[in-house]
Symmetry: C2
Subunit: 215 residues, 2 copies
Amino acid sequence: MRKAKLTKNQLHRLPEYLWVLKNLESNGLKTVNSQTLADCLDLNNELVRKDIASISTENGVPNKGRKIVQLISDIETILGFNTISNAILVGVGSLGTAFLHYKGFEDFGLKIVAGFDSNPLLSGKEVGNKPVYDVSELTEEKIKELNAHIGIITVPGYAAQVVADTLVKAKIQGIWNFAPTKLNVPDNVIVSNINLATSLAVLSYELYFRNEKEN
Amino acid sequence: MRKAKLTKNQLHRLPEYLWVLKNLESNGLKTVNSQTLADCLDLNNELVRKDIASISTENGVPNKGRKIVQLISDIETILGFNTISNAILVGVGSLGTAFLHYKGFEDFGLKIVAGFDSNPLLSGKEVGNKPVYDVSELTEEKIKELNAHIGIITVPGYAAQVVADTLVKAKIQGIWNFAPTKLNVPDNVIVSNINLATSLAVLSYELYFRNEKEN
DNA sequence: TAGATTGTTAATCGATTAACAATC
DNA sequence: TAGATTGTTAATCGATTAACAATC
C-alpha cells in the first residue's frame, strides 16, 4: 500500500489516530471502523478512510472495519516510533534539562544519549544520567561515536542558527528545533520546528477574539 | 483594519513575522517591505502582503514599505504578548517543573503563578519560586484568588481529561495542553494543543521517507 | 515624475467533503 | 443473502499564488 508521500496534515493526524487506537485496544476492542475513529477525533469519516488507506498494509474489511493491532503497528512503523533513534541535545537550560530527565521520548522512538552546552559549569557533569559535553566537542566523530542521527535544539533563539550550523557540520540528519527561529540548513538536513510561542499565540488570540466579540 | 478573523495558518505565521521583525529592528532598520519578510521566511510575497494587511493598524506606503515598530506592536497586541495573563500549571513532572522554572513565557505574555499536582510530596513546596498545591485545591475560588485565566496541562495522557474537567469546573477560560490527547471541553473553553509526538513524528517520517528513497 | 511597492481581484492549487459503486 | 463499511472518483471549499491597477 504505502506509496504516496503523506501530506503534512495527514502526518499530524497519525499520532492522534495512534492515541485513539491504543485507547480502544486497552478497552479490549479488536477492530475499529472509520466512523468510530472519526467520531473520537471530530474528523470526517471520508478523511479517516483516506488517511488510513494510505498508511495501512492491510485492506479494510467491508462490514467489519480494520484490525486495531495492525493499524497501531503500521502507524508506529511509519512514524518510526518502534525503532529507537539516538539523539543529542544542545542547550541544557531549563527546557533542555527537563528533556534529559524525561523518559517519555522513548515511546516515540527517541533516545537522548547526551547533552551539549557552552556553560563550562555543566560540561563533564551528568543530567538525567546522561553526560553533558562542551559544545566544542560537538564534532562529526563524537556524533558517530554516539551513533546519533537527530539533534535537539533547546538554546535561546539568538544562538539557534549557530548551533544548527555546528550540527550540520557534524553531519546530523535531522534537527528538532525548540528555538523560535527559522533555521537555514542544507536541503539534505530535515528540520522540524516546535514553537511554543506559536502554540500559545493561538490560545491568546482565540481568548482575545472571543472577549472582543462579547463587548 | 483588523476585522476578519485570522485563519489558523495566518496565526501560525504571526510569531514568525514577529521574530524576523525583531531581528531586523535590532539591526537598526526602521521599515521593511513585504518581499524582505517573504525572503526571510521562504514565503510568497503576496501571502505576506495579505497577512500583514489583515493585522496592521496602519497602511503600508508604496515604494517604502511598513514601519517595523508599528508591525511589532500590532502583532504583539493581536497575540496578547504585551499584556500579561496569569496561568496555573497542572502536573509538576519533568516538563511541568521545567516550565515553572522557565522565565521565557513572560515574553509571550504568560505568567505562571502556581503549580498543582496530585503528589502529596510536592504540595506545599515551591518550584521555581512558585507555590505548588494539591489538585484538590484546584477550585473556582482558588483560580479567582490567583486571577488566572489559562491552565497549562503537563500531566501524562491518561490523566489529561480528568484535569481538563477540573479546570472547566474551576471556570478557566483557556487550556494549553501538552498531553497527547484530544480534550473534550465545552465550546466556551479554548484549547490549544502542543503535541511533542506529532512534531517528532514529522521529523521521523521525513528521515524514514528520505532513507527509503535512497534504497 | 517615475517606479517600487502597495492593496485587492481573479486564477490556481490542494485538501476536505460528498457521492457511490464494490464487496466481505 | 442483505447491508454495513470499504475504496475511490467527482464536487466543493479554502488557502495560496498570480496579475494588475492604485499610489506615495
